[in-house]
């Protein structure tokens, strides 16, 4: 029994993996059964994750170790950091599934879509619970593969191009990552993730190698995390259906990269080593450049989803920035942004999907006055956008707050400048949209009256939007992401 309990990460992983297998095997013929299985799996996962949350909170560390190759184990383990990511994914998986069911109603190839969708989540679970770099890489690649069918789901030439771009970037990135992992393996052997890192003893003998490997690792993960200049796939991948974009930007892909960077910094290198080698500063600069660059590019985008995509480029780097500042406060900011950005960005993409699905709107200039027709959707969009800018009481504010404090505490005042610039740039590209949706008269005065998105679309949108609000508003609450992250950072910095 305790063995079964100990293997919780596996069950969580399997809950979506098996769902994927069953859905793919079922084929197109049993839509109801498929939906039932899908939802049941998502709910089951939530329950499992809940159990794990309680366990981890009580100080339990789940660990599952299977030898894979001589000297290399497949390690699944759940610590506080994993739980942060797992909970986010599990929650948003449910929301996105419901959304996707409504979104793709009557479109072809749904079984394929939902199958790979579940697979994607399974990979995410694996990434979250990976206990060493090797296991991490395993699921990281699985994610790449399971996402590609989703990106090209529409099957148009444009989608194919996007898919090709996605593949080139991510596979190239994983090649680099693999190189890094192999080199590290050669240098230090296979080592589990341990808070504080495990490489300290090598700093005197191999400083250069450690730096090089770090660059490779970050370079590889940076592709998924959309660090400039390897972010190019993200904006093109927005041709995918809205739930996929939501998944890419909020739950799975981008987050996987960012999460990986967190793991490398915390549990492989360790903060101290990072600072000794001057890598922290480097990472901070890279992240900062991305933050500014992404925002700048976003300003000129005329397509709503493209603008959101560039916004993701910018926002995800907050995470890297936070941990690169190597200081508890900034780390809190960075880590909590992992969750917060997910909630906000998924809200935004859900809304974009609602606009597209309900009224066929893709371009920003067609959004004029949509607030009159879709007040709830638009309200949620507003929440998301304001959160991105970092306005209280939304989730984004909490992240920015801690990042700012961390920057000051670390004595890196230029980072405060970056944050402010980003805030301003975010405002520059989001506020005009808000202005349009609420205050501009509709282009076509004929279209009057309420025309909200379908309940299946609106429900998850509202859920995500209010979650983004709640995460900020109730940040002081004991079970809020912030509280969780504080606990986690305490562990990282206390030893």
């Amino acid at each position: 029994m305790s063995g079964l309990y100990q293997a919780m990460p596996l069950w969580v992983l399997l809950s979506s993996l098996l769902a994927a297998a069953v859905i793919l095997a079922l084929g197109e013929d049993h839509p109801r059964l498929r939906i039932g299985i899908n939802l049941a799996a998502a709910l089951l996962k939530l329950v499992l994750v809940g159990v794990m949350l309680l366990g981890v909170r009580a100080g339990h560390e789940f660990l599952l170790r299977v030898p894979l190759m001589p000297g290399i184990d497949l390690v699944l383990h759940a610590d506080a950091l994993s739980m942060l990511f797992i909970s986010l994914s599990a929650l948003l998986w449910l929301a996105t599934t419901i959304y996707a069911i409504a979104y793709l109603e009557d479109s072809p190839n749904r079984a394929r879509f939902f199958g790979f969708f579940s697979l994607c989540v399974a990979a995410t679970m694996g990434i979250a619970t990976a206990g060493n770099l090797f296991t991490f890489f395993l699921f990281y690649e699985m994610l790449t593969l399971s996402t590609w069918p989703l990106v090209v789901h529409r099957g148009t030439e444009k989608a194919m191009r996007a898919g090709r771009g996605y593949l080139w970037y991510t596979l190239g990135g994983s090649a680099v990552l693999l190189l890094g992992i192999v080199l590290l393996h050669g240098l230090a052997g296979s080592q589990d993730f341990v808070a504080g890192g495990t490489l300290e003893h090598l700093v005197d003998s191999h400083p250069l190698a450690l730096t090089g490997i770090f660059l490779l690792l970050i370079g590889g993960m940076g592709v998924k995390a959309a660090l400039a200049p390897v972010h190019g796939w993200l904006p093109t991948a927005m041709v995918a259906p809205a739930p996929v974009s939501a998944l890419l930007h909020a739950v799975a892909v981008v987050k996987a990269g960012a999460f990986g960077i967190v793991r490398v910094v915390y549990d492989v290198y360790g903060i101290n080593l990072m600072q000794d080698l001057g890598l922290a500063q480097l990472l901070a600069i890279m992240a900062s450049i991305t933050i500014i660059y992404g925002s700048l590019r976003a300003i000129w985008q005329t397509d709503l989803k493209r603008r959101l995509a560039y916004s993701t480029v910018s926002q995800v780097s907050y995470i890297a920035l936070g941990i690169a500042l190597a200081n508890p406060l900034a780390s809190i900011g960075g880590l909590v942004h992992l969750v917060h950005q997910g909630l906000m960005k998924i809200t935004l993409f859900f809304c974009a999907g609602c606009y597209a699905e309900t009224h066929g709107i893709h371009a920003i200039e067609d959004l004029d006055g949509i607030g009159r027709r879709m007040p709830w959707t638009t309200a949620m969009f507003t929440l998301g956008a304001l959160g991105m800018i970092g306005l209280p009481p939304l989730a984004g504010f909490i992240s920015k707050w801690y990042l700012g404090l961390g920057a000051v505490a670390a004595g890196q005042f230029w980072v405060v400048g970056v944050l402010l610039a980003s805030t301003v740039l975010n405002a520059i590209y989001f506020l005009p949209i808000l202005h349009r949706v609420w205050f501009r008269p509709p282009r076509d005065e004929q279209t009057e009256g309420l025309a909200e998105a379908a309940p299946g679309l609106l429900g998850p949108t509202l859920f995500a939007g209010f979650a983004a609000l709640a995460a900020g508003l109730f940040a002081g609450f004991d079970w809020s992401p912030l509280a969780w992250v504080e606990l986690l950072v305490e562990r990282e910095y206390s030893p």
Binding site: L68, N109, L138, M142, M160, R164, L171, L179, V182, G186
Partner: protein, 481 residues
């Protein structure tokens, strides 16, 4: 039963089955399927013995050491036998469905295939230089008629080209054997290394000839010219065997000889040369695969590329590289088998395999495409798959030996493989054209679709169960650290 009977049975039972089939004159697929089942059981039965004692040796005829021919089942041979046995089961099931209604072709297939199986087993078990020559010829001469099964009119050019190169290759090999025998006075692999005098011209020349002969048989880059047409033109089941096993057998020999009898002769420089050939094969083959317009040619060129990986053992020559190369052989065998079977299904359904006209083939071929995709994962070397484990081991070796250029080759090769695999997979996702032309072919029966899938799944599973397999394999015999 004594364990050393098992290797003998592995060779002779298939032979017997083939001969009986030949005499019977009527196709008996069931006999063939029973045979491959028994074959698999025999291989499995070998495992405990090999695991316990490291190797099982069977002395044929009971003659004394330098004279007698021995069959050797060590870890390396056992893994190859296992690969062969697994593939044999899948291919037999596939073939049973594929040739159900064709009396003549079925008869020929079920005659030649057990003989080929026996030949392959014999080759893997061989511990004798000249015996290897005979088994090589046996394998070749069983393989070429199988190619012709696709219709002699279409494949005769390919078969002839194949035959010419194979024949020359084995004679060059034989010339090498002659020189080595002149020097060492024995043909037994286990005795050769000690019996060979140091650094004589004859020894080196013999080794060179042997290596080049095998390179030709293994279709390593400049000698790959015969492969794509033959593998691309053969029926799917045959292509699977050829690509997964037949060329692999030659590559296997290279590994075996290099780390065994030739060990005192080989030099790091020669290793680098072979490695360079391998790297060239990886890059050029992948590039060609990417450029092909026909599905089966894509897969065939992929074989050219994938064989290159096995050569990367030679420059590095450490245990990790050894394990990586062998493991790559296994993974590639399973994956390539799956790819060819899946391609065969597509061909069956469409009546052609032109990539251009393949958009939106999704629905009726879902299972086959799944097999193609899963096998592709292994071919690309993505985790969790056998291909990845192999790549990982090779990468580790290249780091260990500090030969960074192979690292780059490996990573680049993976990317190129992704390019050609996804070039095919994307077809399944493209929207079908407006007016779908009539598709004359038939939907492949489930047996054909699932046999491909099972192989692909095995290729993936290989990535998860590597620990016991690698332990079974051990280090290279004369491994130099």
């Amino acid at each position: 039963m004594r364990p050393d009977v098992l290797p003998v049975m592995l060779v002779f039972l298939p032979f017997l089955a083939g001969l009986l089939q030949f005499i019977a004159g009527r196709p008996a697929p069931r006999l063939g399927n029973v045979l491959v089942g028994v074959n698999l059981l025999l291989v499995l039965a070998l495992i405990p013995g090999v695991a316990d004692e490291g190797a099982i040796v069977a002395n044929l005829g009971g003659w004394s050491e330098p004279l007698a021919i021995h069959l050797l089942a060590d870890g390396l041979a056992l893994l190859m036998l296992l690969l062969t046995a697994l593939l044999a089961v899948a291919v037999s099931l596939y073939a049973m469905a594929a040739w159900r209604d064709q009396h003549h072709d079925a008869l020929r297939f079920w005659t030649l295939w057990p003989l080929l199986l026996g030949s392959l087993n014999a080759l893997f078990l061989s511990r004798d230089l000249f015996n290897i020559y005979v088994t090589l010829e046996l394998v070749t001469l069983a393989a070429i008629p199988l190619v012709l099964l696709a219709g002699p009119g279409k494949t005769v050019d390919a078969a002839l080209r194949y035959l010419l190169f194979a024949l020359l290759g084995s004679l060059i090999y034989l010339a090498g054997v002659a020189l080595l025998y002149a020097q060492a006075g024995t043909l037994d692999l286990a005795l050769l290394a000690d019996a060979l005098p140091d650094s004589t011209l004859a020894g080196s020349l013999g080794a060179s000839l042997i290596i080049v002969g095998i390179l030709i048989k293994a279709a390593i880059l400049p000698f790959h010219v015969w492969l794509p047409a033959a593998h691309g033109g053969a029926p799917a089941a045959v292509s699977a065997i050829l690509s997964a096993l037949v060329v692999k057998a030659a590559a296997y020999l290279l590994l075996r000889l290099w780390s065994g009898p030739l060990d005192p002769l080989v030099t790091p420089a020669a290793g680098q040369l072979l490695g360079a050939l391998g790297a060239l094969a990886i890059l050029f083959g992948s590039w060609q695969a990417f450029r092909q317009e026909r599905l089966k040619l894509v897969v065939a060129y992929s074989t050219v590329a994938q064989l290159g990986y096995m050569l990367l053992f030679f420059p590095m020559a450490v245990t990790a590289a050894w394990q990586g190369a062998v493991y790559h052989g296994l993974a590639h065998g399973l994956a390539k088998g799956a790819l060819f079977l899946a391609a065969g299904n597509i061909l069956l359904y469409l009546g052609h395999d032109r990539l251009r006209e393949m958009r939106g083939i999704d629905r009726p071929l879902a299972v086959s495409l799944l097999a193609f995709g899963l096998a592709g994962v292994s071919i690309m070397g993505l985790p969790p798959s056998g291909g990845f484990t192999a790549k990982w081991l090779l990468l580790t070796a290249s780091v260990e030996t500090g030969q960074w250029w192979w690292t780059i080759t490996l990573l680049l090769g993976g990317l190129l493989a992704a390019a050609y695999v996804f070039r095919v997979l994307r077809l399944a996702f493209l929207q079908p054209p407006e007016n779908v032309p009539d598709r004359p072919g038939m939907v492949p029966p489930p047996l054909m679709a699932w046999s491909a899938t099972v192989l692909a799944v095995l290729a993936i599973v290989l990535g998860v169960v590597s620990a016991p397999l690698l332990e079974l394999l051990g280090s290279p015999v004369g491994g130099s650290e």
